[in-house]
């Protein structure tokens, strides 16, 4: 997996994930991801559009990082997962605890509600 970071509009940090979020993939991004979510307060937009697969270990990574950011007073939104990834997220109830957005306005609204 790969993880890329970029600043979006003020206060929103974009984290782009790409690849396969299985055991091997999450091991490749876990340290970098947790360093970003546990060291500062931010509104974090996790772009999932290039994540091709997610297993339970990948969901665990998302939850751990969302919790870390919440502890710092920020929040996290999952952005544009593909249909199959979103079905996995919904089957495990993640959509009800970490907002999923498919456009930037919905993401802004989700940050506001978090």
């Amino acid at each position: 997996m790969e993880l890329a970071v970029h600043e979006l509009e003020s206060g929103i940090l974009g984290i782009n994930l790409s690849g396969r979020m299985d055991i091997t993939g999450t091991q490749q991004i876990d340290l970098k991801f947790s360093a970003l979510t546990s060291t500062r307060r931010a509104q974090i937009l996790v772009d999932m559009s290039n994540v091709t697969f997610i297993a339970s270990i990948g969901i665990r990574t998302l939850i751990v990082n969302a919790k870390a950011q919440k502890l710092r007073g920020g929040s996290m939104v999952l952005y544009k997962p593909n249909d199959q990834v979103e079905e996995v997220l919904r089957a495990t109830g993640i959509h009800s605890i970490i907002p999923i957005a498919h456009d930037i306005d919905a993401a802004r609204g989700a940050f506001g509600a978090a």
Binding site: R20, D22, I23, T24, F53, A55, S56, I57, I59, R60, I63, A66, K67, K70, Q84, E87, V88, R90, A91, T92, G93, I94, S96, I97, I98
Partner: protein
């Protein structure tokens, strides 16, 4: 059940062999002309089950073996996993309820929940060597899987002797 229309994979139960599993599912999809959504379901279920065997199936230091066979029947794809791990029945273990808040989200049970959700049938048999799981997948034409997420409000104590993912 290794027939001409079946495929088989035998791997050591180690994390570094997980990519072999994903590649095997890609081969399976080509061999059986599976729709992408169905091959995704198979990929996910095998990833979760084999991960569980690797993580919890053996005493420290022991490297087990997982044998996976797949064949096509008229309206379904059948996959059978045989391992030499400690007993674990994913069809009967209780799972925690779906999380109601981020703070309530626990770390376990999601893998088995996903396997139950994305299979049409799931059967477990305890064998002399370990466990035998049979997974059945239907919806071969559309690959659409429409069942609702399984979930209850209350957490329950797992009955299994092996911790689910």
């Amino acid at each position: 059940m290794a027939t001409e229309s079946s495929l088989e994979l035998v791997i050591h139960a180690r994390i570094e062999h997980q990519p072999d599993l994903a590649h095997w599912v890609e081969k399976l999809a080509v061999e059986f002309l599976l729709p992408q959504s169905l091959s995704h379901r198979i990929d996910l279920c095998l990833t979760e089950l084999v991960s569980n065997v690797i993580s919890y199936g053996y005493p420290e230091g022991k490297i087990g073996t997982v044998r996976i066979r797949c064949w096509r029947e008229p309206e379904q794809i059948v996959i059978r996993l045989d391992d030499d791990a400690i007993p674990f029945d994913p069809t009967s273990c209780a799972l925690p309820g779906l999380p109601s808040s981020l703070d309530d989200a626990t770390s376990g049970g999601r893998g088995i929940r996903l396997v139950r959700h994305f299979t049409d049938e799931l059967h477990h048999v305890r064998t002399a060597e370990g466990n035998q799981l049979t997974l059945v997948f239907r919806s071969l034409d559309t690959g659409t899987h429409l069942s609702a997420p399984e979930g209850t409000a209350s957490a329950e104590t797992p009955k299994a002797t092996r911790q689910p993912l």
